[in-house]
Subunit: 339 residues, 2 copies
């Protein structure tokens, strides 16, 4: 078999898998934002009927996966592989959700880039002949993330201007080895970039260099230019990170212009909903992809999309120990046609 | 391309990747155990020269990876993909180690099953045509795990009889799309099994049903029997979990007999080193594989090995919330010949 590698970090799938079904689930605040029409379900009760927020997040993952399966017209039992992750310690939202799914399971951790990692590995597995169907599901929850990473909600801490709001949302995609578009055509697997940012309330700045690096690599590896895409979407750099990413790319002679946006800037009405620099959390890019983007592709609004979720691979412990924030970004090329 | 799926959860690699280089790094206590001759490096200073234990664990991962690359006679830059994980919140041992490696990176979380997950995904990627070289590296550290999962070391808490001792160890393997044996021939991807165990100090009991289930599935999927292997190794069920796994399999009519052991029972002299039920931590099975097992295969002691690392996918938070422990086990078939 010929290698599928293009350039330094990109793989061109020989038989691009179909995104046969996809679903996005959102919490109350997310459902009040500009993307409300794009979600499959908006839950007004952020406990999702569970006794803890962690169990709620797991329930949200299950809902997203079940809805994506329903739309792909497949039973859970048809999934040859399940790739899932979240932001929680020991990835328990994914682990407990996978317990219910009862499918062969790979747990992933890529911080807010996890949907990119899950889609990349699911597509690579199917393209490599490892089954006919795979599912990717990712979530975040404001209430689980806030108390784990920052302070108890009851503390009511003041947020800094560069802070982002962790989305209560989940996205799931069901991939098929063969089927209708949109297709996943290319994967550019990210390397870690770390420019020394140590402020966990400024993750856009920490992750923007990784987004810039992966985008540059993707264009160099594939010979493509920004004009080859109808939409280029990082996630979730937020307002400041989006600006930094644009500036870093401009210095390299790349102008993404109007076709560029960031999932963290799209999920909320940033000013009206008082979310400072925008949204974050791996549920943000996952739900924007599995709602707005894939629905938009199906409707013909965009034919080619480059989805580039970004992750900050630090922990509260590593920052307390004086470490900086390693950023990563994977680029996933989607197309309504197999090319 | 034909599917590589066999039965319910197993994949037979079309061109089994070569385990071209492998290395194991151990801490002081592990270096005093019965496997001392099998490690590439035993570090007497468990800080590995770093200012924190978390940084020490990351340094240990780097050492393991560098040593495995050296033995595979490859530079880091040759690695098309890096798969890594650990037990720490937000997988920081892997993240910071990958920052130094500067290769396309996928972060994984499978608790103590992570080496199985990493080897499975690395082999599937290469067999699928996604590059020529991939590396898998996994670690655990007694001092990082103890304070994260249990109590500060200074507290000196009494351990229960079923407790296991988290290994300070790392294992790394460098896989090549083509090369000499040992080869990775089959992967059986585990599903989650949860029999309701809620005692985090009895993880052998929590994980034994998953090991039993994956072994039964592997035999059913491949048509193989225990006699097809020279060594069947779970990891790390420990003394009690190993016994439970044997009994569960016997009830199903499968007798693993003398060819069966568990990494958690091999790493320490259980009685003399006072480690209660044995070793745990994803560095345990990774270092036993990348030391004792792969060296033994190279020396012709074993020709076919079934490596089945097990993971407990709970967190301290999930147990405090009344949840039970989901167990998982992946089976990785290794052979000195491509079959």
């Amino acid at each position: 078999m010929e290698t599928k590698k293009q350039g330094a970090q990109t793989f061109a799938l020989a038989s691009p898998p179909s995104l046969a079904g996809f679903a996005s689930i959102a919490g109350k605040k997310e459902g009040e934002g500009p993307l409300r029409e794009s979600f499959d379900l908006i839950e007004q009760d952020t406990t999702f009927g569970e006794s803890t927020w962690e169990k709620a997040e797991s329930a949200m993952q299950q809902l997203a996966l079940e809805k994506a399966l329903e739309k792909a017209k497949q039973p859970m039992a048809a999934m040859d592989l399940l790739f899932a992750g979240d932001l929680l310690n020991q990835c328990i939202a994914a682990g407990y959700s996978a317990r219910k799914a009862a499918r062969p399971f790979f747990g992933l951790y890529g911080a807010c880039s996890t949907m990119g990692e899950a889609l990349a590995l699911a597509a690579m597995a199917l393209d490599g002949g490892f089954g006919e169907w795979a599912a990717a599901v990712v979530s975040s929850h404001f209430c689980t993330a806030e108390r784990q990473y920052r302070t108890p909600l009851e503390y009511g801490g003041q947020r800094t201007p560069t802070a982002q709001w962790t989305a209560t949302a989940a996205g799931a995609a069901v991939l098929a080895r063969a089927g209708e578009g949109p297709y996943l055509t290319h994967v550019t697997v990210g390397k870690i970039n770390d420019m020394g940012i140590k402020d966990a309330n400024n993750m856009g700045a920490a992750m923007a260099p990784a987004a810039c690096n992966t985008l540059l690599t993707h264009f160099a590896d594939t010979g493509r230019t920004p004009e080859d895409y109808d939409l280029i979407l990082t996630g979730d750099l937020g307002m400041l990170g989006r600006q930094l990413c644009k500036e870093l790319l401009q210095r390299e002679g790349i102008d993404l212009s109007d076709r560029y946006n960031d999932c963290g800037c799209l999920l909320y009405d940033v000013e009206a909903q008082d979310v400072h620099c925008g949204a974050s959390g791996c549920g943000c890019s996952a739900s924007v992809l599995c709602g707005l983007v894939l629905n938009g592709m199906r409707a013909g609004k965009w034919n080619r999309v480059l989805f580039c979720p970004t992750g900050a691979l630090h922990s509260p412990v590593s920052l307390a120990q004086g470490e900086s924030i390693p950023g990563i970004c994977h680029a996933i090329a989607l197309s309504n046609t197999i090319q």
